[in-house]
Amino acid sequence: MSPNLILVIVVGVMVGSGVTLVLERSLTRILIGFVLIGNGLNVLFLVASGPAGRAPLIGIGEGRMSDPLPQAMALTAIVITLGVTAFGLALAYRAYQLTGTDDVQDDLEDDFIRRRAERDEVSTTFDEALPDEAMPDEDYLDNDDTLDVGVAADAETSVGEENRR
């Protein structure tokens, strides 16, 4: 199949512009870039699906029909782009509301890990063993005498507990 040059150029420019914007820090720009990339890739579907033709409707028009499968896929992609972009806008608005700017900030947690690495420390969740630490213990008998003989004692302890409350 032969490619359609103008569409190929459109795809390249759209994706290129989109990528440039996505690498920015402003969430609005990132979203605009995202939509640009999405539109560009939808056009890529057209390039890949072969030459133009009549609409894929049975019984209407004459001649070669354009390929319906990439169209169905692109249609799904268009609507998904809408949902995800709207979500991104909500994120951008939220970020602006909380920080006063819609710029993506560097992750503080990552910075924290980097500093630990520079100081040659272990991670915070690592359980460092202390040399003279006690052996593991089921530690069941930490409080009062609760070992009972039977039902009568059961009742007694429950009374005791109520008294304590």
């Binding site: 720009r29 640009l36 539109n39 499968l69 998904i80 690592f126």
Partner: protein, 955 residues
Amino acid sequence: MVWLVALHFLAAGVAPALVKALDRRAFWILALAPGASFAYLLPRALDVTASGEPVHERVTWIEPIGLHLDFTLGPFAAILALLVTGIGALVLVYCSWYFRPRDPEIWRFAGVLTGFAGAMLGLVLSDNVFILYTFWELTTVLSFLLIGHNPDRRANRRAALSALIVTTFGGLAMLMGLVILAVESGTPLLSEIVASPPPLEGIVIAGVMLILVGALSKSALVPFHFWLPGAMAAPTPVSAYLHAAAMVKAGVFLVAVMAPDFADVPGWRPLLVALGIVTMLIGGLRALRQYDIKLLLAYGTVSQLGFLVALAGTGTRSAAFAALSLLVAHALFKSALFLVVGIIDRSVGTRDLRELSGMRKARPLLFVTSLVAAASMAGIPPLFGFTAKEAAFAAYLDLGADLGWNTLAARLALAGIVLGSILTMAYSARFVWGAFADKPGVEPCHPRAFALGFSLVPAFITVFTVVGGFVGGWLTPRVATYGEAFAEGAHEPVLTLWHGFTPALWLSILTAVTGLALFFGRHPVAAAQHAIVDRLPMPDADRSYHALMRGVDRLAVEVTGRTQRGSLPFYLGVILVTLIIVPGFALVRAWETPQVSEIRLADNYLQMAAGLLMIVAAVLVVRSRRRLRAVLLLGVTGYGTAILFVAHGAPDLALTQVLVETFLLVTFVLVLRRLPPFFSDRPFTVMRWLRISIGVLVGVFVSAVALLATNARTATPISEGWEEPAYTYGGGKNIVNVTLVDIRAWDTLGELSVLVVAATGIASLIFLITDRSTRSLSRPHRVTTPDSNQWLAANLHDARRSIVFEIVTRLIFHTVIVFSIYLMLSGHNSPGGGFAGGLIAGLALMIRYLAGGREELDNAAPVDAGMVLGIGLALAALSGIVPTLLGGGVLQSAIVDIPIPLLGELHLVTSVFFDVGVYLVVVGLAIDVLRSLGSGIDAQAQDEAEEQEEEVVPA
């Protein structure tokens, strides 16, 4: 047998409810699961051990890959299964006294322990290696939960974790080995692998060794032994069951089942016998130094497990016989001893033998139980432990004759187990002395009273220890059935109290006397241990493990710190540069072989015009510093895309693209009104050029891919010839729509889920209640207009009214909604469908919002957006499920012609219900977007304005 395992899991499932209702008495009911299994298995086990014919059972599961629930009751598994179920039932009964009444944690414990009993039974019975592995890991995970029963202490958490990591590591090695073995043998069934083993060479040897790693880690052999003493953090019933009778025997079980065929694998015997004996000695020496009687038993278990693995791995008939006998004897005496420790712990409050004193007089029954069980452990006649140990000595005395080992190796092995047994004698005596003796200068303990049943459980188990010693004649043929898989040895093994004056008897006497001497001379022995053993240049396994884990953690921190810089543009840049370099390199290579046949400039002039417009707009988007301008230019590229779709012959795409673009444009503007008009200035020009060059390169790359991929395409499109079936089966003339709702309806269903998630996410982000925004999403309600002459409820925002807009909105709204429904229904045959229809309805709602504000939106759509989304998704899912209930495939559609009076026939394709679901989801998304990014932001803006006013007034 499958049902026995299932019964356990069922009991585990209802355990929390039972505990809630009956408190700790629930354990009695739970004990019925292993108890009933024991009763069921007992006659069958007797049959199997008498006849040697294993019982097979299969429940068909996943036919295509040949994975079935295969269960087998072989001679070894039968006896182990009896132990697992029998002791499991008794331990559960014991638990009903061990725990406090109304302990808030036991609902979980009861479920996990019962589930563990089921997993252990499944492990012992399963014949398919993959099912076996599943149960194996299930016991690992459940034992992790049991060891970490009391997670408050750090040491306990670490013990649980190290048990998990060590045994899972072994388990993964084992899985590799099992896969190798199953592939090389051509069957995953253990019984068939053992019946016709693959040739013992190359990869099979590697596989067997990997399996041994798993077995050794589970059975706590050196160098994996350190996890078992740590596991004593578990409640004592767990130690009695998992760490004496059941789980730690899994490794021995695996070795025993494989030994008949694989003992001849090079390295098998030296490895297992040597590691086993070393473990036996290390465990024994360590046990002699413990003050905690539970830890003493734990190290004793390590020692005995070493003994068992050495015997099971020897691979002679008499050693196999001794291994099975000792396994049973060990399960009986060790579980009883652990249970005694639990009672002492619960009634005195300490397990430290320096504080325990006077218990012999205070608790005579416990004392007798312990004395008998410990004597069995030490190998004193007339108990089961004695007969089993005699058999082991006899087996190792004939090692040279049976295996042809040279005298030195055989004698060394014999000396090893005799030395280990001497240590066993010594620590057995230390246990009884430590727990029960009167110690001068120590205050006698006054144990609290407890129910008689509590101490009857270990006593009951110990009865079998005594009986087992006397019924050796009855036991011998039954135990020997397993040994028949091995070649006949120099002597036929037998369990008996009196062999005559054989070398084994002299060894037993030597063991007992020397062991007692070691015990009585414990002070000099301890000093000697301190002086010699501590100085030996032996790496401490626990410390090495910890150093290893620390190393892994440090490596993770270093790698994360170096690679994860926390900057989103940096990450994206790395990904994109990788895209340019790696696939780009392949692209350049592919370019060298010329295959570009012909390139056409464009299909028609419309493409040229739209394309040029889009290129200009896209470049301008990047250059613009004003937000609004960027968004409007983005809209130009979007409408341009729609024109390209028209020019290509894709009306459905064009329609959807125009609607989406419009909706998106308004949504962008709704949000942008609250953001600053300009993008923040970033002076770093170098970075700017870097971004642009990455963008250009990626653009060139994608263009090149488009050129190359289109040229490379030679196959016939998959959609060739869809016309005919689309009409006859799908019942529609619009092939794209039939594709969406029928041919590829799964895709669409997935997409709907994404939309529902996105919509819910949007609403949650805006209506999230924090200190900054206190608005919550209230139920939409109708707003009545005070002045009934008003067109819309817009009188609430006088300043922003537009009479023309209001009137037009009022006039067209209902027409547009009807049109959207028409578009949805007619979409099957002409451009349209659920997506387009839903978007048009969404736009109609948007117009109402723009004309009359948020009250007007609530008037137009007095429904909860979540409800619309949910109904839509449910409808789409139902239209997928209903056909299966009627005997069709998932999402299959049917064509029904319903005659309607006056109007003629309704040609109904059932996939229309799916499309209605699509319509509703899109409308729901639109309502959510408008209500969140429109009304929600309005309300927040209003709140802020009011706050500012309040601040201004007092000033």
